[in-house]
């Protein structure tokens, strides 16, 4: 009898199928890995198990009993425990308080918290994980990330006679851990197996999955494939299963002339989470930044925009080292940040205010008084270039659709005819038509001689746009490969550290 069995789960969000046919089983004492690309349906499956959303169809069985999970309380009662990659800890409370967070504290004298008992029971939970190095009275905010993760795990271990934890769902648990901390987590997984608990282990890290899991289920486009015994699995097999049949990108890539002049030269750049990165981009070239998870593409763009701490950057042979975004824009850099709502747009202001913001010195009288006519004329001109659909330059940004908001960000970036365009996930959350427009615009800008650097987790996008792709691994540049002839699967393999091209 399986500890957990889900069969033929399907879930549709407003017409878009997130999960179409997902089945898997977890046996007692098993670590079962779940893999798949972004958008394959992993998160949806976890959300269904956690009771955050309900499946449209399909069955869930826990220890042989049909189970319905309508909310988080049901999931808890069934013995399901969840560990997310974002650590939701109350960082000002103690370890012991965090372990008992959301649960009844032990009490005495008719309702007062029994702090000694709380500490002892927290100690016992930590000792069960061989984590006695964490003192229960420590304030959680002072712990390292890995130890916070252990506190979270310990809180799922506290004995609860009415609903003992028996199935542990871990979503990218090692994403923020050092290798040493990961090793400690793996020892905890061993301990869980010894206790005959089941673990559903979601991870992008193939090495890790091959090492610690018993079986692997791959999700692709919301459909699960039959599980593979880890002993028989290989890295290539998993990549192929995740990405599907490898196919060549059809869109025409701009031809790159190799004798074009160097537009951007980066030499031993360092910054927060970045180590000695060096590369060149030629005029008319689009360079992609690829990597797994938090590899550092976004940080590299921020570093170029003024957050760098060392190294040198030259544009068209002229040394520039902006000390902040203000100087970056002045020197001909343009930046489209990843989160358009929190980092990009002034939502309550007009399109024209949004577009003109970095260019106000140019679009003003004497760099002092506003020139609204010039702002609106410029906004109208670049708006046409990016095919912005709006009622006019005075429309408020919050009234626009996501795709058009993103086009406002592009209009802002191209208004100054930048020499270097830095883009972080330029088409995230954008519909197909807007995405097409944005890609066309980028090719046009590159053809006009600007250097473009794009960080994107969308591999198809990088293959469609870029002439070369830089692979980043944990803040280091591991290699730069030509995009010509590359497939999405091959690129993914490169991101996973495969050295063959």
């Amino acid at each position: 009898m399986s500890l957990l069995s889900v069969a033929r789960l399907a879930k549709t969000y407003g017409g878009a199928a997130a999960l179409r046919d997902a089945s898997l089983t977890i046996e007692a004492g098993e670590v079962h890995a779940l893999m798949g690309e972004n958008g394959a349906g992993k998160s949806t499956l976890i959300r269904i198990l956690a009771g955050v959303v309900q499946a449209d169809s399909g069955e869930i069985t826990v220890a042989g009993e049909p189970a319905s999970i309508a909310n988080a309380r049901d999931a808890y009662r069934l013995g399901l425990r969840f560990l997310h990659q974002e650590l939701n800890v109350a960082s000002r409370l103690s370890v012991a308080e965090n372990i008992f967070l959301g649960r009844a504290y032990p009490t005495r004298w008719g309702g007062l918290v029994d702090w000694a008992a709380l500490r002892d029971r927290a100690s016992a939970a930590l000792a069960a994980l061989s984590a006695s190095h964490i003192a229960p009275e420590t304030i959680v905010g002072r712990l390292a990330v890995g130890d916070r993760m252990i506190v979270k795990i310990a809180s799922t271990f506290v004995d609860d006679a009415s609903a003992p934890g028996r199935i542990f769902v871990m979503d990218e648990p090692t994403a923020a851990l050092t290798s040493e901390e990961s090793e400690r987590l793996f020892r905890i997984l061993d301990e869980l197996q010894r206790r005959r608990a089941g673990v559903l282990y979601v991870s992008h890290r193939i090495e890790e999955v091959l090492r610690i899991s018993n079986r692997i289920t791959v999700l692709r486009d919301g459909v699960s494939q039959s599980p593979i015994a880890t002993a028989e699995a290989t890295r290539e097999m998993l990549i192929e299963r995740m990405t599907g049949r490898t196919r060549l990108e059809a869109a025409a890539r701009p031809r790159q002339s190799t004798n074009a002049r160097v537009a951007l030269s980066v030499d031993r750049l360092t910054g927060k989470g970045l180590e000695e990165i060096s590369f060149d981009v030629r005029e008319g070239e689009i360079l992609g930044l690829a990597g797994l998870g938090d590899a550092g593409g976004d940080r590299l763009l921020r570093a170029l925009m003024g957050a760098m701490t060392g190294g040198s950057v030259a544009i068209a042979g002229e040394g520039v080292r902006p000390r902040g975004p203000a100087e970056g824009w002045r020197r001909g850099l343009a930046y489209v940040p990843r989160e358009r709502r929190s980092e990009g747009l002034l939502l309550s202001q007009s399109i024209s205010d949004n577009v003109a913001l970095p260019h106000l010195n140019r679009l003003s009288h004497l760099r002092l008084f506003l020139n609204r006519l010039a702002e609106r004329a410029e906004t109208a001109a670049v708006g046409r270039r990016v095919r912005l659909r709006a009622t006019g330059p005075r429309q408020r940004a919050w009234r626009l659709s996501g795709g058009n908001q993103q086009k406002v960000m592009f209009a802002r970036a191209v208004a100054g005819a930048p020499r270097l365009l830095l883009l972080d996930e330029p088409t995230r959350g954008v519909d197909v038509a807007a995405r097409f427009d944005i890609h066309a615009l980028l090719r046009e800008i590159a053809a006009a001689g600007a250097a473009v650097v794009i960080a994107s987790s969308d591999r198809e996008e990088l293959l469609a746009l870029c002439s070369r792709i830089a692979i980043l691994t944990d803040g280091r540049l591991s290699r730069i490969v030509p995009a010509e002839g590359l497939t999405a699967a091959r690129l993914l393999a490169l991101c996973y550290g495969d050295d063959r091209v």
């Binding site: 940040p337 002034l346 205010d353 010195n361 002092l368 506003l370």
Partner: protein
């Protein structure tokens, strides 16, 4: 929640309320309320508040507050009086007092922009520091007497003759001039636009090349100068200075900006709207005083009106959040 009726009330509710209040006073005080003399009187009473509320609008456009303006106004008045007592000329006294405002404001700005203290907490501290300083310098007494030159106190008591035995007060003129300068700064300059960008989304503004820190630094300096100017105006009007005379200005200024925000399209602070807010507070105070209503009732009503105005303007607001 987005019917045209609600949208109308949201945007114009404050004005409708004010119109009703004015009509009420007009009916009850037919002989004295809506007269040229009384309106000019109101404008003079409100002149200090107009200056402080205008410069407060600059700080609030960035999404910040300055709670220290009232204390700063008192301090500036005391400083000017001390210069007079030491034999200084009017020009020197005004110069020293305005400089004190600038230095105090820039100190606030430095601690907010470059050290990173929350404006609310910092200016709360600054409020008590500047207030205490005013007490210390004045010895806790009202400073007055022959040392305060007539030229200084006459300024507040005179104005431009309008005929019909009416004068347009100098203080009103000075207040309108200050508000006009702030309007030009906020609405017509690059720096003003950038302040609104900071107020909308400071991180986005920074990434789009707005020099956030220098602007915050300078804006608090401006608020300090505005407060000092208001303190001088008050000292001129009463021909004396005491360490608490500016204390009511801060809350009224913030209330005026809030009232104004309820009348603008996106709820952002605008100088012209702030002036309307100042007018509301002034009209209400004047009318109630004439009807012999106690000042604590006036305070209660002013507070209630601010709350009601903000409440109606948040009807059905918040798009998609």
């Amino acid at each position: 929640m987005n019917s045209p009726a609600i949208a109308f009330v949201r945007r114009h509710g404050t004005l409708i309320g004010v119109a009703l209040v004015v009509v009420y006073f007009w009916l009850h005080l037919p002989a004295t309320f809506l007269t040229g003399r009384n309106l000019l009187n109101i404008s003079q009473q409100m002149s200090m508040l107009t200056v402080v509320a205008s410069t407060m609008t600059v700080v609030m456009a960035m999404g910040d507050f300055d709670l220290s303006v009232g204390s700063m106004a008192s301090l500036a008045g005391v400083v000017a009086a001390l210069v007079f007592l030491a034999g200084g000329s009017t020009a020197v006294a005004i110069g020293v007092a305005l400089s004190a405002g600038l230095v105090g404001g820039l100190l606030n700005g430095f601690l907010v922009a470059y050290v990173g203290i929350l404006p609310f907490i910092l200016t709360l501290g600054a409020m008590t520091v500047y207030g205490g300083l005013a007490f210390w310098l004045s010895g806790g007494k009202t400073l007055f007497g022959s040392a305060i030159p007539h030229g200084f106190s006459d300024f507040a008591r005179s104005g431009i003759p309008l005929g019909f035995d009416l004068t347009f007060p100098n203080l009103t003129l000075l207040a309108l001039l200050s508000a006009a300068l702030v309007w030009v700064f906020l609405e017509q300059t690059v720096a003003g636009r950038r302040l609104y960008a900071i107020g909308d989304n400071a991180e986005a503004a920074r990434l789009a090349g707005v020099p956030v820190r220098p602007l915050r630094f300078a804006s608090f300096g401006l608020a300090g100068v505005g407060a000092a100017l208001a303190g001088l105006m008050y000292a001129s009007r009463v021909a004396s200075a005491n360490p608490t005379q500016g204390s009511g200005l801060m809350l009224d200024a913030i209330a005026a900006v809030f009232l104004g925000q309820t009348m603008t399209e996106e709820g952002e602070p605008r100088v012209l709207a702030t002036l309307a807010g100042v007018l509301i507070i002034g009209v209400l105070g004047n009318g109630l005083t004439q009807m012999n209503v106690d000042s604590y009732v006036r305070d209660m009503l002013t507070g209630a009106i601010v709350i009601a105005a903000v409440a109606t303007s948040s009807l059905g607001r918040r798009r998609g959040e």
